[in-house]
């Protein structure tokens, strides 16, 4: 139970047990990542040996192949594309989404509940179902292999989640706060920007992180819609899957490398992440 000051002090045993259990959980979470990095460092025969080798002579061959030698474009171009597309789509999704969420929360008109559900329903469809229609659509407007194509797609995929989460947050803001500002002569936009947005900062942070994770990791559509100019890290990764199997070392190296940026991005917003995910819990 949430311990109050009186109880926490006495129960050091409970604290020790809790810490122990937490470490086990973290261990389970990190073990696959440990496997990922060690596989990237192992030679071919070490990777596929039975029994699995725990102590091995690390080789950077996979990393060298993955990052130095590879292809006409070096990996930095792919990284740049990924960062640009993820950042732009996250900012757009959270920006447009917060406006829409505010409008839905503050001006409930007839059918606003249905509109909210309709927006959420756009999240149900798995991207794999609509690869070809989306490709043909973007091609008809000449957006194939452009950053804009992926930015628009990821924005629209994230919008539904952002609007849905932030709508709850805006609904929590006491109306009096905003009415006071209105009386003081703020316009509606100023109220939104100066009063409402700052109050939902945790929500913004949480939705930003989750949108960024989606955009950063999306694999299938990125492979189809882009060729070279706008290709992202997942497209770079698919270059390592041959028809007869996968280049394991390189695959793991790129996979491990791909986690780092998103992790750093999250560390900045981590404090807000917790308060940002309190959907609808009773205040």
């Amino acid at each position: 139970m949430t311990s109050n000051s009186q109880v926490a002090a006495q129960f050091s045993l409970r604290a020790v047990l809790a810490l122990g259990a937490a470490c086990v959980v973290v261990g389970f979470s990190l073990f696959p990542l440990y496997i990922m990095i060690t596989t990237a460092l192992k030679s071919e025969s070490d990777i596929f040996s039975w029994p699995p080798t725990w102590t091995f002579e690390p080789t950077l061959q996979a990393f060298k192949n993955a990052f130095l030698l590879f292809g006409g474009q070096n990996v930095l171009v792919f990284l740049f594309n990924s960062v640009l597309i993820t950042a732009a789509s996250t900012v757009l999704a959270v920006g447009l989404g917060s406006m829409a969420a505010y409008a839905l929360a503050r001006f409930p008109f007839r059918g606003s509940k249905h509109l909210a559900f309709f927006i959420l329903s756009t999240r149900f469809a798995p991207p794999v179902a609509f690869i070809v229609p989306i490709y043909l659509m973007f091609r008809s407007v000449g957006l194939i292999d452009t950053h804009l194509a992926l930015i628009l797609f990821y924005t629209s995929m994230n919008l539904s989640f952002v609007i849905w989460v932030l709508r709850g947050f805006f609904a929590d803001i006491p109306i009096e706060l905003e009415e006071a500002a209105l009386v003081d002569g703020y316009t509606r936009w100023q109220v939104f920007l100066r009063i409402a947005l700052p109050l939902v900062r945790p929500g913004l942070a949480a939705t930003a992180i989750l949108s960024a994770v989606f955009a950063w990791n999306e694999f299938l559509l990125a492979n189809i819609i882009t060729q070279r100019d706008a290709a992202t890290i997942p497209v770079y990764l698919s270059g390592f899957s041959a028809s007869m199997g996968i280049a394991w070392g390189e695959y793991m190296a790129v996979g491990f490398f791909a986690v780092a940026p998103i992790m750093i991005f999250t560390l900045f917003l981590q404090r807000h992440l917790v308060r940002g995910l309190t959907f609808g819990a009773v205040r």
Binding site: E44, N65, L69, G71, G72, Y135, S238, A242, G245, I246
Partner: protein, 449 residues
């Protein structure tokens, strides 16, 4: 150039090969000022070894070519989607695309006929393995130049066989006998590794093993020594999964299950070769180029102890290995002015010198007789002479996996339905009957009959 019938080809090719072998090929870089002279070539490639080698030596390649090489590498499914989507653009985004042998049936509508270029450039096309060259020959058009075609052949551990006094397995009975004898004879040793994973892997296994038992999965016209993949007409599209050959094939696969390593139901492609390389199985079906996994790795247990045979033949089948692998083709929506450049790059990338260069970096494939006899190449990749011999004896063919647009559906249906039988969830007969029904429905939906 008028191509006589198949027969004369083989004789002429053999004669040329002997002559070519005399002058040992010094691996020299391409002609001086480079084939690109400043231009940019855009290639859509698969992540297979030859293209990965190109990526690894990308700097030198551009230097030799004297221009920039844009190499977009994709996985199998994504590549095919990109090729088909690219075909619908009015101007192609790529100068060269990579095509897998069975895909010619599907792509032949939008590929350039290279026969004219072959003739005008004086390319020594007969240096190529006959099955490789004709693999891209459809509706009297040469739609692609082989760059990494290699057959799926049969590898076995010579040391284990000698130890157990077993004959080299040329027939399926011998395979089963050897597998039974060797399975479990050593700690962690299974009889045989093969593609048992659901979907495309098992689907391809079925088409090939049925070929070894003497019949393709669809009713193609029989020709001397095999079946005609050059022109498949609608009446050839009838599936033959309820034939006796199909039952023999099914029986053989069910038997194999008894002598397979753990996790066979999920084993596919390189994984079987890796288990074989570590000494996990005594025999394995293997795409010849993947022998590099153990041939080039000092501490692989199987290194230097492996010999190769064509696919073991069924009771009244034939010893014929299935050819697969990659060709370079030019999409026909590539503007005329780019085609010469595309051709000269193709000619260069598939030249004997370049093919020898690829073998230095782990691509043990050389579909040219001249390269197959180069001592250095053979030292690096022992499998190459075996493949060369099989090519010369006509033990390699491309018809087992019919190059028709529905090939992927064929793999999927066979690979999904028969997996039920392998996993014991359905009897082999029912699985074959269901596969036949679904293939029939697919062909009817496609409008063949």
């Amino acid at each position: 150039m008028h191509f006589e019938n198949k027969q004369s080809w083989i004789k002429k090719a053999a004669a040329m090969a002997v002559a070519g072998a005399v002058s040992s090929i010094a691996v020299a870089p391409a002609s001086a000022e480079g084939v690109l002279n400043g231009e940019t070539i855009r290639i859509l490639a698969i992540g297979d070894p030859v293209f990965q080698v190109m990526q690894r030596i990308h700097g030198d390649l551009e230097e030799m070519a004297g221009g920039t090489i844009e190499l977009d590498v994709r996985g199998f499914d994504v590549l095919r989607q990109q090729v088909l989507l690219n075909a619908q653009n009015d101007v192609s985004n790529y100068d060269l695309i990579s095509v897998d042998l069975p895909q010619f049936g599907e792509y032949k509508g939008f590929l350039v006929d290279l026969a004219g270029y072959v003739e005008s450039s004086g390319m020594d096309w007969q240096d190529f393995h006959e099955a490789a060259w004709t693999g891209a020959y459809h509706d009297q058009m040469q739609l692609g130049i082989p760059i990494q075609p290699h057959p799926e052949i049969f590898a076995y551990r010579v040391d284990l066989f000698e130890e157990a006094g077993l004959e080299p397995p040329r027939t399926t009975e011998q395979v089963l006998a050897a597998a039974k004898a060797l399975h479990g004879s050593k700690d962690g040793l299974s009889g045989i590794c093969w593609n048992g994973a659901r979907g495309t892997p098992l689907g391809q296994t079925i088409t090939m093993v049925m070929g070894s038992h003497g019949l393709p999965v669809i009713a193609m016209d029989a020709i001397e020594g095999g079946f005609d993949l050059g022109n498949v007409r609608p009446e050839n599209m009838h599936p033959q999964m309820e034939s006796d050959t199909a039952s023999e094939m099914a029986a053989y696969l069910m038997e194999l299950m008894k002598f397979s390593p753990p996790g066979i139901l999920n084993m596919a492609w390189d994984e079987r070769v890796r288990v074989f390389a570590q000494g996990g199985c005594a025999m394995t079906y293997i795409w010849s180029g993947r022998s590099a996994i153990y041939e080039l790795d000092e501490d692989a247990e199987a290194r230097g102890k492996v010999s190769y045979l064509p696919h073991p033949a069924g009771p009244n089948g034939l010893n014929v290995s299935t050819l697969g692998g990659w060709f370079l083709s030019i999409p026909d929506n590539l503007p005329e002015d780019r085609r010469d450049l595309a051709w000269s790059v193709t000619e260069w990338l598939t030249s004997p010198e370049m093919m020898a260069e690829y073998t230095k970096h782990g691509n043990c494939v050389a579909p040219r007789h001249s390269v197959s006899v180069d001592e250095e190449v053979v030292a690096r990749c022992p499998v190459i002479p075996f493949v060369d011999a099989m090519a010369t004896n006509g033990e390699i063919a491309g018809w087992q996996r019919p190059p028709v647009p529905e090939i992927q559906q064929i793999f999927d249906i066979l690979g999904a339905e028969f997996h039920e039988a392998l996993a014991g969830a359905e009897s082999p007969e029912d699985a074959l009957k269901e596969a036949q029904r679904q293939l029939d429905r697919t062909m009817r939906r496609a409008g063949y009959y």
